[in-house]
């Protein structure tokens, strides 16, 4: 393990998420171990179905009723996975907040925006509704909702998608959480306002000192905001490291494929973008080998029946890890 400069704020240890389905059990997250330092921004990248969002739901106790989380998720020394619903409610919305993917449906259509903001403060901090609402309006102002005092009294359907996601950000940061979980916060938004919303989230995260876990399939978003990146495939971490180091020298064939599939402005225009052959793996039973092996151009015998462990890449500096037999140190 690389030495950490500080005690991690969040430490996932062999986190698994399984779902019971009529056809049998499927594994969505398969032994993920990650550390997050206070104030750090970690990006979790992966294709649809790679299990990236389920990691966040597991932490929040929001898995679907047929889902089950295993392993440990230590947050400030407390295992979130072992908490009861009532104990979780003392963490959710206070020390840990979450922003969801679809702002159009994630706000309560029957409640004034300001009341949805104030609710958490009233319940958790015992504030009066009046002062909690005032606090809510101040926060709306900070996420740059124009004319916040008037708009606060409106209902969500009177807001645009971008404004609703800013309301979600305001709601999540109102309690000054130590940890902010963001599940593809800009996927549902117009391309033109994605950057605005992301920058706002990062800026406010820095101001309040919150660490952020940002789940996305957009490598551009990761490069823009994240200190560190974990690449997820088939529910496993394929590669991990400081964002810049990982993008400069990807060690895993999957990461290289992802980067090749990303359009870049600085290189000369190639006729076509790179693609990764095959279809992404999603769920399914436990695997013996590497989940990416069937699609991997560099695959060899060991890949299909021996699971590569996540091992440090010493030549690439601290915190760089990959799970590929090709980059394993010779034993």
């Amino acid at each position: 393990m690389t030495p950490m400069t500080a005690e991690p704020l969040l430490s996932l240890q062999d986190l698994t998420v399984r779902f019971r389905l009529p056809a049998g059990e499927t594994v969505a997250v398969d032994g993920v171990s990650l550390d997050l330092a206070p104030g750090e921004v970690l990006g979790i990248v992966g294709e649809s179905g790679s299990g990236k969002s389920q990691i966040l739901y597991a932490l929040m106790g929001l898995l679907a009723s047929n889902g089950r989380a295993g392993g440990r998720a230590l947050f400030q020394g407390q295992d979130l996975l072992s908490l009861t619903e009532a104990q979780l409610d003392r963490v959710r919305g206070q020390a840990v907040s979450m922003i969801f993917q679809d702002p159009m449906t994630s706000l309560n259509p029957y409640m004034r925006v300001v009341d949805q903001l104030a609710e958490g403060l009233v319940v958790h901090k015992g504030m009066s509704w009046a002062s909690a609402r005032a606090e809510g309006v101040r926060m709306l102002d900070r996420v740059r909702i124009p004319d916040a005092a008037r708009r606060a009294r409106l209902y969500p359907h009177e807001f645009s998608g971008g404004m609703r996601q800013r309301v979600m950000i305001a709601m999540a940061l109102l309690a000054r959480p130590r940890l902010l979980l963001a599940d593809e916060p800009t996927t549902a938004l117009d391309v033109t306002i994605q950057a605005q919303v992301l920058d706002l989230m990062a800026e406010l995260g820095r101001e309040t000192g919150a660490a952020i876990v940002l789940v996305t399939h957009d490598l551009g978003v990761v490069a823009r905001l994240c200190d560190r990146v974990a690449v997820l495939y088939g529910g496993r971490v394929m590669e991990e490291g400081a964002a810049e180091a990982l993008f400069d020298a990807p060690a895993h064939p999957y990461t290289r494929g992802l980067l090749a599939a990303m359009p870049r402005l600085e290189t000369t225009l190639t006729p076509r973008l790179g693609t990764i052959p095959g279809t992404p793996r999603s769920g399914g039973a436990m695997l013996a080998g590497c989940p990416f092996a069937p699609r991997c151009e560099a695959r060899f015998d060991r890949c299909t029946h021996e699971r590569p462990a996540l091992h440090p890449l010493r030549s690439q500096g601290p915190g760089r890890r990959a799970a590929c037999h090709l980059s394993e140190p010779a034993t």
Partner: protein
């Protein structure tokens, strides 16, 4: 909000006017008339009677007379029940139908919603199965089967309650109310359960849970409103239908309500009574629909803000 109510009332008035016109003319399109059946009567007598009820006038004049009467809340004399006006008939029957219907719908709403909520929150529990069974029985078995069974058991065997009639005060009303409530309990509990399960899956409920405000508050502030909207939409028209009397209930339990007039009046070609009953049911239906819309608009700002 006032504009919203005003608009709904205006639309309701238009609907009612259309209803009055249509019923009036459709009724007269049907062959025969109030005095054109069974007993042979001399043409002079026939003419006299028809003159007394203004049936000899041209149709548009009859219509004008009728509309003028409606505006003065006078529905005219019954052609079948001698010496009774339609107002008298409705006034004598409506209180019974109203009492039975009112309590039936109150009980149905309370029990139905309770069963539906319990079923949705504890899916596949004993309560859920009990509610499901009541739902199937209440919808599948008609009142004219359940009614006599209830009479046989509670009245004849246990002798707790009278078989029928209205002579024993509230005791006479218990069975009709419960039997009338049963199918509504069934419908309401099913609507509640389905919409509750749907609402629990909604994204904004997940947001509320993520805020950690506690399960009880999630339910009361973030789930119930959305889950009950379809129930309220059902309750409006159902209430109008139930309080205007059920012919089955009134026949099985010998209650002199107005439900029986629905069928009798049409069979007897009792023009004024048919019109009166239609008008009563129509206006109640429109009124309760408006009430439903208003309640839904209070709960759901998206309905309130439509245009």
């Amino acid at each position: 909000m006032l504009r919203f109510i005003g608009k709904r009332l205006w639309h309701g008035g238009l609907t009612l006017a259309a209803l009055v016109t249509l019923t009036f003319f459709v009724m007269r399109l049907a062959p025969g008339g109030p005095f054109s059946r069974n007993r042979k009567i001399s043409p002079e007598v026939q003419a006299n009677i028809e003159a007394a009820f203004h049936l000899d006038e041209p149709l548009w004049q009859q219509f004008g007379r009728f509309v003028w009467g409606v505006l003065r809340l006078d529905l005219g004399p019954s052609t079948r029940h001698r010496d009774y006006s339609v107002n008298d008939l409705i006034a004598s029957g409506l209180p019974y139908s109203l009492t039975i219907g009112f309590w039936a719908i109150v009980i149905a709403a309370l029990v139905g919603v309770a069963f539906g909520l319990a079923g949705a929150l504890r899916r596949n529990s004993a309560t859920d199965y009990l509610a499901g069974t009541i739902g199937v029985v209440g919808i599948a078995v008609p009142i004219f089967v359940i009614g006599p069974l209830a009479q046989a058991f509670f009245s004849l065997r246990l002798e707790w309650l009278p078989v029928g009639g209205i002579t024993e005060g509230w005791r006479s009303l218990v069975l009709p109310i419960l039997v009338l409530a049963l199918p509504n309990i069934a419908y309401i509990s099913r609507i509640t359960r389905t919409s509750m399960i749907e609402t629990l899956r909604e994204n904004h409920v997940r947001t509320a849970r993520a805020k950690g405000v506690g399960w009880r508050r999630v339910l009361t502030s973030h789930v119930l409103t959305g889950a009950l909207l379809p129930v309220i939409a059902y309750l409006g028209p159902a209430t109008a239908a139930v309080i205007t009397g059920s012919i089955l209930i009134e026949t099985v339990f010998a209650v002199p309500g107005i439900g029986r007039h629905f069928v009798d009046a049409a069979l007897n070609r009792d023009y004024p009574l048919v019109m009166g009953i239609t008008l009563l049911y129509g206006s109640l239906l429109i009124l309760f629909n408006i009430a439903t819309d208003v309640v839904r608009a209070i709960l759901d700002p998206r309905i309130r803000h439509e245009r």
